[in-house]
């Protein structure tokens, strides 16, 4: 599949590299004991260290280190047993120390690879350049006072992992697939909740265009994009903007740009928003971060089965299709839900019910699988009722809808509503006889070779039994009795 974009003067290739900022799931901040809960009262989760008070010193949160190593392993990346924290110096009101503690030349995680499934069914590998640990800044609030800004330092000092990709991404679609995949991996690992609305994941997007086969073009960096949709809009906008400039004989300026969600466009940041010389140097308050191979191996032992391995297993061992497997492993919550449903049941039937009927209901209700009103055990119960012929597949769909609305068990609903399938041959036989007796003309048509009329008979009987008659049994009896 070609990702080339046709310009007025010929095809262009889009080149994208992403810096994902993922907030580390941890009880406390990167260098202080302050709490990290989202949505707390402003300035209620700020230690003396986070506020940059005189004489205060950072102490590394070992949990954050573990989580970064874990993430690095999940991204198939090289773990650096020796890394260094640097200071990135700039002035801003949301940066109490006057510098951000980050990792510059020697990050905790080096090169890795993420395999990304594409919409056309293929897949591509996106290289990871590095993952480093850094502190988040606070937040300025501008709407509390006509002329003044307020500062909320709750985010100040939160641990972030900055995951830098190589410029391997060639389209907005690939960029979206890549972010979804990285987010899925981090969620599987439990190292970042990936919640873009709450700011626990956001990205800086580097975009350039070039003629196919040529060297990399000059890039623009779009800062702080906080949804996949916005990121894709930014890529589309930048692609067009840059191609237009180049085709008009202009050149791209390397600059930092801001995405405007209202208009879906990007514009250059004002000078003041862009610090130029960060004067990085090793933070003398912190020792280099060193750990043993054992430390890494012990973390490796605790890694869960990750999406790629899970997908292979679903296909090889459970016989699922590529598509079904891909959908089911795309999110840790979905995979765990599916596995609970499939436990002790037919894997394919379970897959159909989870990503077919249940997903349709969830989509209608705009809910995630994590807050599905139907538990995995309940969905399993419904499937069991189909397998033991208590209800038909068709009735089961109606039962699922009721389950979704009421949260009640399938078995209870079936009894309450009298939906139990009629498998009593005598009762069905009586219905069959009366339909045959009442419709001699249709019987004659069937016997005259019009096989299709059988469906009409089935429909009549299902109607008469309100859908509860076992369809196989109805078919069998009709065929027997309609024989000339």
């Amino acid at each position: 599949m070609s990702n080339l974009v046709e310009g007025a003067t010929g095809p262009w290739e889009v080149v994208v590299g992403l810096e994902i900022h993922a907030q580390v799931t941890a009880q406390s901040k990167l260098f202080s004991g302050a709490a990290t809960e989202f949505g707390a009262e402003p300035n209620s989760q700020v230690s003396l260290v986070d506020a940059g008070m005189p004489g205060m010193l950072p102490v590394i949160n070992e949990r954050a280190v573990e989580q970064s190593v874990r993430s690095g392993l999940g991204l198939n990346a090289k773990i650096n047993n020796y890394s260094v924290f640097d200071r990135k110096n700039y002035f801003y009101a949301d940066l109490p120390q006057g510098y951000q503690i980050s990792q510059y030349l020697q990050p905790i995680v080096g090169e890795g690879i993420v395999s990304v499934d594409l919409e056309d069914g293929g897949s591509t590998d996106i290289g990871i350049e590095r993952l480093h640990l850094e502190q988040d800044a606070g937040k300025l609030i501008h709407d509390q006072h006509p002329r003044k800004s307020h500062v909320d330092l709750n985010r100040s000092g939160l641990a972030l992992m900055e995951i830098v990709s190589k410029p391997d991404i060639r389209s907005a679609a690939e960029a979206g697939a890549y972010v979804r995949k990285v987010r899925a991996i981090l969620r599987y690992l439990g190292t970042c909740d990936g919640n873009m609305e709450q700011g626990s994941m956001r990205a800086d997007v580097n975009i350039s265009v070039r003629r196919p086969g040529e060297d990399l073009g000059t890039r623009a960096e779009v800062k702080n994009v906080n949804s996949i949709r916005f990121m894709q809009q930014a890529i589309h906008f930048e692609t067009t903007r840059q191609i237009d400039i180049l085709e008009a004989g202009g050149s791209i300026i390397q600059e930092t740009r801001k995405f405007d969600a209202q208009t879906g466009t990007t514009r250059p940041m004002r000078d003041k928003e862009e610090a130029n010389d960060y004067r990085y140097f090793p933070d003398p308050d912190l020792l280099p971060l060193e750990f043993s191979d054992d430390f890494v191996e012990n973390i490796r032992l605790t890694l869960p089965e990750l999406p790629d391995a899970k997908k292979r297993r679903y296909m090889d061992d459970l016989g699922l299709s590529d598509h079904d497997a891909a959908v089911l492993v795309s999110d840790r919550d979905i995979a765990l839900f599916y596995e609970a449903v499939a436990d002790g049941r037919d894997a394919k039937i379970a897959a159909n019910w989870v990503q077919g009927e249940l997903f349709a209901q969830l989509a209608r209700a705009e809910r995630e699988v994590a807050d599905s009103p139907i538990t995995a055990a309940q969905l399993g119960g419904l499937i069991d009722l189909i397998s033991d012929n208590t209800i038909s597949g068709k009735i089961a769909k109606d039962v699922l809808e009721i389950m979704f609305e009421t949260g009640r068990d399938a078995a209870v609903i079936v009894v309450d509503k009298g939906l139990k399938q009629v498998t009593d041959t005598g009762a069905i036989e009586a219905e069959v006889d009366s339909v045959i007796a009442a419709n001699p003309d249709k019987v004659a048509e069937f016997q005259g070779g019009k096989d299709k009329i059988l469906g009409w008979f089935v429909g009549q009987i299902m109607q008469a039994t309100k859908g509860k008659a076992n369809p196989q049994l109805v078919n069998q009896l009709l065929r027997d009795k309609l024989k000339p």
Binding site: G52, P54, G55, V59, R87, G98, D277, R279, L286, L287
Partner: protein, 494 residues
């Protein structure tokens, strides 16, 4: 009660233990002496009421049967140490009105040991200076004056207030900090004992940072024994300081055996300077003779990268300072000078709040870390730093300690070097290498200059071997028998 202010800590400790003296009496005499010495400007915040209250609390603790190693001893605290609820200025206007809601680990250790706080001492702004002339609160005067010379002299810096308070007999001892010589040089200028322990021995938590990789707290006292007692109380492993060393804390006082027979003492040839006063060289030779007489073996050594120490220091220290001082932005605490927008508020606040020397070093530090200069300055300075540390490591393969002068001159008059930063920076030439290498050093008063001003000798030791440092210092002290005291000319006649 003037004789009480002449007591050393160890003497007072014995009298207090025997019940022949109360902390209240001891503290009152120092509070009184402190009040008579305002002319010296040694304190930014004298705290007589706090002192007397703490003294009484100490006396009741002792009455209750518990007494710490510094129980009831009145001390002065350099104003770089954050003290809970008490104005802490770092000698700067930019910390205007700043009362920290926390206590530095070192001062807290002292209060845990039973000590009493007399007040917060004046210092060069953010510890940047060698003469105490950069303080926002005005210069500290050295209690010493030249024979037949009424000119006011600098006490050295940056811990000038601490050194003056101890030399002037209005604090029994004081905390200080040493980034490039800020304990040892003022100790040498005031006839007191000042030690900088190994980097990591004392916690930096709650000490206003100047240059994080060089800053180290230490005591200024009247004799070596008191110095050992003080350091024992100040030092601790502190998990809140990632650079704090988790090593056992020896009984430093027990190291004062007076026996240095067989010890090998290195004398580095690079510490002979062109234009250094002859009396400094003579004193050094005297020190060598004393140690030889005490049974030590004197060995000529070479520390070949010494001449690069000062330039490297004046890159590394300002670089770290430029970053450490970024937090003084007028947003959260201290001085704020309003402006039309955020940037203007920063500029107004920092231009008003920082003095000329601090601004100079912030500019130097910003420059040496800037893109295009980083490799040539900062990175090169770090390489030199490693070479200097290696010089010492190699020297300590053959010697147990090193003897040098503490400073290249005696105390000088105000204004003498204030307009010539390079001449001022040269004051630290003998002390800076120990900071770059993170090693312990102590200055011991060893004689008087021709003008009758104190001169010090410096003993350097390997990392975490303060015991050898103190042992050798004790021998120098005993041999020097330095009993001179400044005339108490500052005292207001009763």
């Amino acid at each position: 009660m003037s004789e009480l202010t002449n007591l050393t800590i160890s003497q007072a400790r014995d009298l207090l233990a025997k019940g022949e003296l109360s902390s209240r009496q001891l503290t009152e005499s120092h509070v009184e002496a402190m009040a008579q010495a305002t002319q010296l400007n040694a304190f930014v915040s004298p705290l007589p009421d706090v002192a007397l209250e703490m003294a009484e609390a100490s006396d009741s603790r002792r009455a209750g049967g518990s007494a710490g190693p510094l129980e009831g001893i009145p001390l002065a605290i350099k104003d770089l140490f954050c003290t809970k609820g008490t104005l802490t200025t770092a000698g700067s206007h930019i910390l205007n009105g700043f009362k920290p809601p926390y206590e530095s680990t070192v001062s807290d250790n002292l209060w845990q040991a039973g000590a009493v706080m007399l007040g917060k001492t004046n210092m060069d702004e953010f510890a940047m200076g060698s003469s105490n002339e950069t303080s926002y609160f005005g210069p500290v005067q050295n209690p010493w004056r030249g024979r037949g010379d009424n000119r006011a002299l600098v006490p050295g810096g940056s811990s000038g207030g601490s050194a003056a308070a101890v030399a002037g007999r209005f604090a029994m001892a004081a905390t200080a900090t040493d980034t490039g010589g800020s304990i040892r040089q003022p100790a040498a200028f005031t006839g007191t004992v000042g030690s900088k322990p190994t980097y990591g021995r004392c916690s930096r938590w709650g000490v206003v940072a100047f240059a994080s990789s060089l800053d180290q707290a230490g005591p200024i006292t009247r004799d070596v024994r008191d110095n050992a007692i003080m350091l024992g109380a100040m030092a601790s492993y502190d998990p809140k300081d990632s650079t704090s060393a988790n090593v056992p804390l020896p009984d430093f006082e027990a190291a004062l055996t007076g026996d240095i027979r067989g010890l090998k003492i290195g004398v580095p040839k690079e510490y002979v300077l062109d234009g250094m006063p002859g009396e400094i060289e003579t004193l050094w030779q005297q020190g060598i003779a004393w140690l030889r007489q005490a049974g030590a073996e004197i060995i000529d050594i070479s520390l070949p990268h010494t001449k690069y120490a000062l330039p490297a220091y004046y890159i590394v220290a300002p670089a770290e300072a430029s970053s450490n001082l970024a937090r003084y932005d007028g947003v959260r605490f201290g001085l704020r000078v309003p402006g039309g927008d955020l940037r203007e508020m920063y500029e107004n606040t920092r231009a008003t709040g920082f003095g000329a020397e601090v601004r100079r070093r912030v500019l130097i530090g910003t420059y040496v870390l800037s893109a295009g200069y980083y490799d040539a300055y900062y990175l090169k300075a770090q390489k030199i730093r490693r070479l200097i540390a290696r010089d010492f490591t190699e020297a300590y393969e053959t010697v147990d300690a090193i003897l040098t002068p503490s400073a290249p001159s005696a105390a000088f008059p105000f204004g003498d070097k204030a307009d010539d930063p390079i001449a001022m920076y040269l004051n630290d030439i003998f002390t800076v290498p120990a900071n770059l290498a993170g090693l312990p050093g102590i200055s011991v008063p060893a004689g008087l200059s021709a003008e009758g001003l104190p001169l010090g000798l410096q003993i350097l030791a390997p990392a975490f071997d303060e015991e050898t440092m103190f042992r050798v210092a004790g021998v120098v002290e005993q041999a020097a028998n330095f009993t001179a005291q400044p005339e108490q000319w500052w005292k207001v006649p009763a």
